[in-house]
């Protein structure tokens, strides 16, 4: 009842931008909510600013409308179509349970895009290695790189069971393979790709971009270290603000404790001191 409905009396995004600032938290109109798998949901909202500016591995803070849960919920952008932005999330707690109950026509408060993206300027063969709910930034990386003739992308996705994201990444990636726990994990796939020569693209360096559970990312880092492949990892940490003001989201790096939200979420294997 006291829920904010989507009746923007003024456009806070435009006003902020016109004054030379980054948009503050503001409501966005939800255009679609779909269940992808057991407790996995894809939510799309209309936000021209975020749609225009978001880069792969950047995330958005979503806010519940329950004031008992005021903290930001960060989610990686998974796709952008026109001025619509999608995220894919797992229902893990009360906040995501609430988001899963939303429907097209509702509104949701957002802040973003936040964080530093994967570095993908270089012409390369980007191997997009994701596990579980690490898929969103890599779907979006595939989407952004799809337009770039100088690069190649291969998606390597590992799931617990349902392959819920294959259909989102396949239209964008040059190649896509996936696996679930009944068969193995992303390392199984990487080994297979290596054996078949599919990792190697003539004239292009192979760069691994990865996101997923910590043990998976450590395994990927180790795997790439052995082969001396460049490896960028998108990290998660509990956040206070998501925009760099509170130092609540640190990760231990060789340069000390850095903010996942503002120094990351993307760190190189070398920064994390992994797999050496």
């Amino acid at each position: 009842m006291m829920t904010a409905t989507f009746t923007p009396t003024y456009d806070v995004v435009d006003e902020a931008v016109a004054a030379g600032y980054f948009p503050p938290r503001h409501p966005a109109l939800i255009t679609a909510v779909e269940k992808l798998a057991d407790r996995v949901v894809r939510l799309t909202f209309r936000d021209p600013y975020i749609a225009k500016h978001a880069r792969p591995a950047q995330f958005v803070n979503l806010f519940t409308d329950d004031p008992l849960m005021p903290m930001p919920r960060p989610f990686g952008v998974s796709e952008v179509h026109g001025d619509e932005v999608s995220v894919i999330f797992a229902v893990v707690g009360k906040g995501t349970a609430g988001f899963a109950r939303l429907a097209a026509g509702d509104s949701i408060d957002v802040l973003g895009p936040l964080g530093r993206p994967f570095r993908t300027k270089q012409a390369a063969h980007y191997v997009l290695v994701a596990g579980g709910l690490g898929v969103p930034p890599l779907i979006y990386a595939a989407q952004c790189l799809a337009g770039d003739p100088a690069t190649r992308t291969t998606a390597v996705f590992g799931y617990r069971d349902e392959h819920f994201a294959d259909r989102f990444v396949e239209p964008f990636a040059d190649a896509a393979v996936s696996i679930d726990e009944s068969e193995g994990n992303v390392i199984t796939l990487l080994d297979r790709l290596e054996a078949s020569g599919a990792l190697h693209v003539e004239g292009l360096e192979t760069v691994i971009l990865s996101c997923g559970p910590l043990p998976m990312m450590k395994a990927v880092a180790a795997w790439t270290a052995k082969r001396d492949l460049a490896c960028q990892l998108s990290m998660e940490q509990r956040m206070g603000c998501g925009y760099g003001t509170c130092v609540l989201c640190t990760v231990d790096t060789v340069d000390g404790r850095l903010k996942v939200c503002a120094d990351g979420p993307v760190f190189t294997r070398e920064q994390l001191g992994w797999g050496e």
Binding site: Y21, L111, M239, T245
Partner: protein, 322 residues
């Protein structure tokens, strides 16, 4: 069929990006704030906030606790959510006072901000080392944090012990003429005891409250969510505790300037602190949930004070409601 739609029931629209003439300044220990709303230490970093608004528009900005050398703080996870609150266990991570003097402070002054430099320490020597370096700096005021619940030495262990606090004050007071604010913790039985100790030993102002000790447990694992187990609770939930701290301190110490902190996320809540006897307020956790919250609070309060000329006049003159 439709519900009643009364203009006066709806929230007023304030365009934060329009130029605004501040109508109601305040004074804290002789320093003029262009409005009574500052940021609370630890929730404001210039490098992050400058993208969102013009920081010179705030009454003041209280910067992150600053230590003699860089501190790495506590391991992660450092935060959990409470009902209508944030729980933090940063443990005062900061790049140290030299970095502050070389980087943050000059940038803030150049941006036109009124700066409250927040000082952290694990020992009296630490506090003294920082104050020595800030004594001749461009900072407008110093705020000595003797109330952090997330460090094992210094912090709250000083703020809960009036004798230790008096001793620290005696050491720091002669080191600088800058207005010195002592930031107090609510994790005591009677906050007026350390408040009095601070004032009797030379504090120019008090700020309160720092965070309340708290924790959460993950029922999936049965273990504390925060690596450091406990943290400090702040945000809407702590409002009544902050108000009582200000009110009781105002009653016990009628003359001392007080900055009210704790759960402020609207002009109305800021106003409660002013009625409780504060000269100004600071906005903390609310800025984590929306970067522009401090500026919005300032704008809302500026309008609310229009209808309260007696209160506004007192604040402008460096006096308080009670």
């Amino acid at each position: 069929m439709g519900g009643v739609n009364m203009a006066d029931v709806n929230d007023k629209h304030i365009n934060l990006y329009e130029a605004h003439e501040w109508k109601h300044p305040t004074q804290v220990a002789g320093v003029t704030w262009k409005n009574p709303v500052g940021t609370a230490s630890g929730t404001f970093q210039y490098a992050a906030v400058r993208w969102f608004y013009d920081v010179s528009q705030l009454g003041a900005v209280s910067t992150k606790g600053c230590s003699p050398i860089p501190w790495e703080g506590n391991p992660s996870p450092r935060t959990a959510e409470g009902p209508a609150s944030n729980i933090n266990a940063v443990g005062l991570q900061n790049p140290g006072v030299d970095h502050y003097l070389a980087d943050d402070l000059p940038k803030l002054k150049k941006a036109g901000a009124t700066v409250v430099a927040n000082v952290a320490g694990h020992s009296d020597d630490d506090y003294a080392a920082v104050v020595a370096k800030l004594a001749d700096s461009d900072a407008d005021m110093l705020e000595i944090n003797v109330s952090c619940p997330n460090v094992t030495h210094g912090g709250m262990s000083v703020g809960t012990d009036p004798v230790a606090l008096a001793k620290l004050m005696d050491r720091l007071r002669p080191m600088t003429d800058k207005p010195m604010i002592i930031k107090l913790t609510p994790n005591v039985t009677d906050i007026t005891v350390p408040a009095r100790a601070a004032v009797e030993h030379g504090a120019d102002a008090l700020s309160m409250i720092n965070t309340l000790l708290g924790m959460r447990i993950d029922i999936r694992t049965g273990e504390p969510i925060i690596a450091n187990v406990t943290g400090g609770v702040s945000g809407p939930a702590v409002l009544p505790v902050g108000l009582v701290a200000v009110y009781r301190t105002r009653t016990a110490l009628p003359e001392i300037p007080i900055i009210g902190i704790g759960g402020v996320d609207s002009g109305e809540k800021a106003l409660e602190y002013l009625y409780a006897g504060a000269n100004a307020v600071e906005v903390g956790a609310a800025a984590l949930f929306d970067p522009v919250a401090p500026l919005r609070v300032a704008r809302e309060l500026d309008d609310l004070l229009d209808d309260r000329p007696e209160l506004a006049a007192k604040l402008a003159a460096g006096e308080t409601w009670r």
